[in-house]
Symmetry: none
Subunit: 203 residues, 4 copies
């Protein structure tokens, strides 16, 4: 069962890669707002139509670029949730801190949410971009949610813990710091966070 017998000239696969490569490079150099679609097309040696046929908007393109550099964080339940979570969150923190610097000529210490905020904004502007972003995060966090599930079954976590909510608390705190309060995020903070979430606040 052929899905659809393709008609007409097929898309040049090579173009996709060339565009995304060029876009990534430009994004790292210039950040979101000095990033120009024309320039991407030029750098990728591709006509603008070819680009716009694939990503109908600057926002779409940028999200595609970001999705592409999202590295899988391998994570497997080791029998010690605390250690697993800490390791995983630190990976995320590293990624976020890298993104903070995007487009800043000087690696200045002026805590900035850089790309992440722009991606969130793009997701807010276009429904389809939003869906893509959500899918990206869902895929990324699927493993860690499974892990939490396993830890619960294994008896390390209370049986009434909801993995989704627990993870929201942890990841949320990181993004909150990044996007809203702008305070620094480091390994020590991750530790305190995990401790707090596992221990609970009530006396």
């Amino acid at each position: 069962m052929q899905p659809t017998a393709r008609r007409g000239r097929p898309r040049k696969q090579e173009a996709d890669a060339r565009i995304l490569d060029a876009a990534l490079e430009l994004l790292l150099d210039c950040g979101y707002d000095r990033f120009s679609v024309d320039e991407v097309a030029a750098k990728a040696q591709v006509a603008k139509t070819t680009l716009y046929r694939r990503w109908p908007t600057k926002d779409h393109l940028i999200v595609a670029v970001v999705a592409r550099i999202q590295d899988e964080v391998p994570v497997e339940y080791s029998g010690d949730v605390r250690a697993d979570l800490t390791r995983y969150l630190n990976e995320i923190v590293n990624g976020l801190n890298r993104m903070r610097q995007v487009g800043r000529a000087t690696a200045s210490g002026d805590a900035s949410a850089g790309l992440v905020a722009e991606v969130a904004a793009a997701a807010a502007r276009h429904a389809d971009v939003g869906a893509a972003v959500q899918a990206m995060f869902a895929r990324r966090n699927a493993l860690v949610l499974t892990l939490l599930e396993q830890a619960r079954e294994h008896g390390e976590l209370r049986s009434d813990v909801e993995p989704g909510v627990l993870f929201d608390q942890l990841a949320g705190a990181l993004y909150y710091r990044l996007l809203v309060t702008g305070r620094p995020i480091d390994a020590a903070y991750v530790d305190r966070l995990v401790t707090g979430a596992l221990t609970g606040a009530s006396a």
Copy 2:
């Protein structure tokens, strides 16, 4: 000691209000990107110079607008942290859900982060806007942090709880949902969140 003896024609106070009013209205109608400074000036019957003298950037203006509609959430320790927290978070949730609709013609249910993401992005773009946003949130949350402090002294919370971290977990989860996963936020979710954070996940 007068800060600076003003010379020349004083600014027209009325203009500030007219501009912010117009800006708010436009923001609610159009959302961030179809919001144009020219249009604000026109609607406020004010010259663009008058506007730019006060807010040097579209981003500055928008943050000023948002700061203005941030209502103080009065909160006082009642002896029951759980209830106090729940109430406070629900207030925030209401505010966020209102913002979600900004710029959407139809009040469609397509979960959008609307303004919040744009403000975060603006904060990421300009250092001073970032500072203003952080100050806004700091001011807003000062009361609840004090409240957590009191609850700890009162023995309702463990003595090693860090109010800042605890609050990050709670507020963070909300913003994470809003900005990243796009999933709905309601009172039931707030309940589960507070329960989780107070109880802790460890068996």
Copy 3:
């Protein structure tokens, strides 16, 4: 002696007609500049290649369309040049006035040269289109030039009259009005024109 032994799949004759029909319709609806080759192909249910194989340029296509709707104006010397000329010129005027409306949604009276000017421009751009246009006009006016010749031989016109020059004066005036001054052209004007040309201006 076959000119060239055809090999491969023969051209679909039907396509020519379908394309010209579609092109004509589109031309009447939209005028020259909103006329797009892609749209013609779509409307004719024909691939763009099929179209370009026949007419290598938008201009070529349009001239082909115009040539097709040029109706032969039968004319024969009746012994009364003035009457013959008047009738012939009125036919031309009718055609021109029809063309004036091309591409105007409302049949407004805003005298426009419509298609004619575009065809002239096309002729100016491509040498071969120019040749085609000239041939079209030559073919069209051959009869009336012969007629003038006959009238001269018959003694109705001075023996030193050059039919070509005389006809230039008459047809030229019409096109000049159409393309340059934009003033209206009607039967009364044709009358005055013929009178002037036959009578002469000198006292």
Copy 4:
């Protein structure tokens, strides 16, 4: 009585000239279709907005350029209409022949209507451009129409001659040759034309 008390920053007069200069140069080099508004703006060192504020369309701009290089042809009644007309028409012919070459890299002899046709087409596309073109020609030919009037009063022309119609015959023939038949136009042709129009064709 001030026509209008000017408000706001006045337009930079210098810009108009710089744009028209650049546009003219480009037009002479490239002809109509390789003429690009972007390039004009760049060459004139002017923002595209500045240009579009003055001429809302490529066509408008080009007509403005052409209008600017329309030199006044001084003409005064000398008592000899034939001579006056001949001189005037030859001036026009020179101008037309110059325009024929516009945009042709090589001064090839391939008779082309060049710019004139494009201007006529532009006039046909936009009502306001059409009006401008007609005004341009009206202004240009006002003198010669007056001259014909004087010649008639002076008894050189028949009293029932309509100057407008007579001039249509003459100028029209030139434009007809240029735009339609593409045949060459020279002094000899002008002579035959004037002779024909003054003498009349009837035996």
